[in-house]
Symmetry: C2
Subunit: 304 residues, 2 copies
């Protein structure tokens, strides 16, 4: 999928001194590129909706400081790309903003040391573990435009089925994905056939299998319409990431780099983009808590 | 202000085993009380917008798990009560939800050990330090109602003037409060006289003084209209909290417990409620970063 991205870099620090600053730099770059590609001045943006995985969402806050851009901070764990699109589209659709930016990021190294172990420790990963994507995506949501169009969205509920293994987030998030997608179909009177592609954010290979079983058991026939960004982003024949990709950046780069282009070029007519998030923290796990999941769905069609 | 609250407790654990679980329990209680007072079933709520200070906002996520309530997670540090009102009012005003709940919390003990020192260490506090309020507030935002009305809101920008002292958050947030309030007046063609009260969230005594100087220097005459929830919540003659109260819960309980009643009873006709947040994390401070601030303003008037 590398050829789909506007910018790639081999320096995981992106010229910064720490991985956390690198992640913030990633969002800065994404926002700069968005403004360039849309030929817009920063002052023409009414609102930025963004969030990330780092404690207190510092990647987002620091990327926006002193830019003068009105900013709403979000926390939806790895569902943030969908949540930021959803909130941006409410702001624009409701007439409260003309142009909003939905943005997020994640960084493998900043996530590993915050959620799991210091990287230098070289800990062995479990087979169910996923690899946090180092990446950032930003999308411009406007009242008038010719690009892909957000036509509907479903806000997810927080589902916790008691999974306590923080290295098996696909299993923790799959029930939330199932609930949101089922609710989306019910609310809108739709079925899988109404979409060319239904894509979850980062369930990975294990979570995707679980979700498929849940759809099957509920009589929802996804056919070959269902995919997962965590299974799409890496090439398992050359990249050993165990159960797949994860992180806010995973679904963000797959959507902004690949899927939106597929819609813009007519290869996809209607997409259901379902960001998935595991709402745990190291503290909640240390205190014996299970892992709640959430999923927000955004339906995107071809433009005018 | 104690008599204004629906529920007070002398057990800082609220029956839970840890302070983090206690904080989550606080939000659960606030939501239950809201539903009771409004005589609503959970299923009649279309959306909950909530966030908190804990890493990965676990207080909010865990309070909502398995409730079946559609949930958008927010991160605005101590500005969350204003941010959640703002996003709720966009959702309701734009026709995307009929009934939304804006909710947040903070807990002195969970904040101290996350941001500063273990409480058992008994560290001495600097004179500029503020005391995180243990409290939670929840407000129902509906399309039709007779209560106080959200008539306008201004999303803040992230302002960083280079303050590096994480024990002086009032100074870090004051410039953001100034910017948002000035912008609010400019955008709406209003002046302080249009409000009975303009209240910031948790600048504390020091931050409030700084903000007052900035207004004065800019020729914005606040007169005696300006107050700060961090200066209102505690009684300095009997409660030694140094520079005042802070935390998401500070402005949340002052608004939901006191100010909304003042509006409902006609004692206040128009309020500008300005949630203020310091967007730092322990990691950003350890990496030598200064403290960015943000402020979101919500204008609230008497009902119909």
């Amino acid at each position: 999928m590398g050829h789909c991205f506007d910018h790639t870099d081999t320096d995981s620090y992106f010229g910064q001194k720490t991985w956390e600053k690198a992640e913030s730099q990633l969002q800065k770059l994404a926002l700069e590129l968005l403004l360039q590609k849309a030929a817009l001045q920063p002052r023409s943006i009414d609102l930025v909706c963004s969030g990330d995985l780092l404690n207190q969402c510092i990647s987002s806050s620091f990327s926006l400081r002193n830019t003068g851009l009105p900013a709403l901070g979000l926390y939806g764990a790895c569902s943030t790309m969908a949540e930021s699109l959803l909130v941006s589209s409410m702001a624009v659709g409701g007439g409260f903003a003309q142009r909003a930016v939905a943005m997020t990021s994640s960084h493998f190294a900043s996530s590993e040391r915050q959620y799991r172990f210091p990287l230098g420790y070289g800990g062995q990963r479990t087979p169910t573990a996923q690899w946090t994507v180092t990446g950032s995506g930003a999308a411009l949501v406007t009242a008038n435009g010719s690009g892909p169009k957000i036509e509907a969205a479903t806000v997810g509920i927080v589902v916790d089925k008691g999974i306590k293994d923080a290295n098996n987030m696909g299993a923790a998030m799959a029930p939330a994905a199932f609930e949101t997608i089922r609710t989306h179909f019910d609310d809108l009177g739709r079925s899988p056939e109404d979409y060319d592609l239904i894509v979850t954010g980062d369930l990975g290979s294990l979570g995707k299998e679980l979700a498929e079983t849940m759809f099957q058991d509920a009589g929802i026939h996804m056919g070959n319409r269902y995919q997962d960004c965590g299974c799409m982003i890496f090439d398992p024949t050359t990249q050993d990431v165990h159960a797949g990709g994860s992180g806010c950046g995973c679904s963000a780069v797959v959507l902004c780099g690949y899927l939106l282009d597929q819609i813009a070029t007519g290869k996809l007519k209607r997409l259901l983009f379902c960001g998935t998030g595991a709402l745990l923290s190291p503290v909640s796990s240390q205190q014996g808590e299970s892992v709640p999941g959430v999923c927000h769905a955004v339906a995107i069609t071809g433009g005018n």
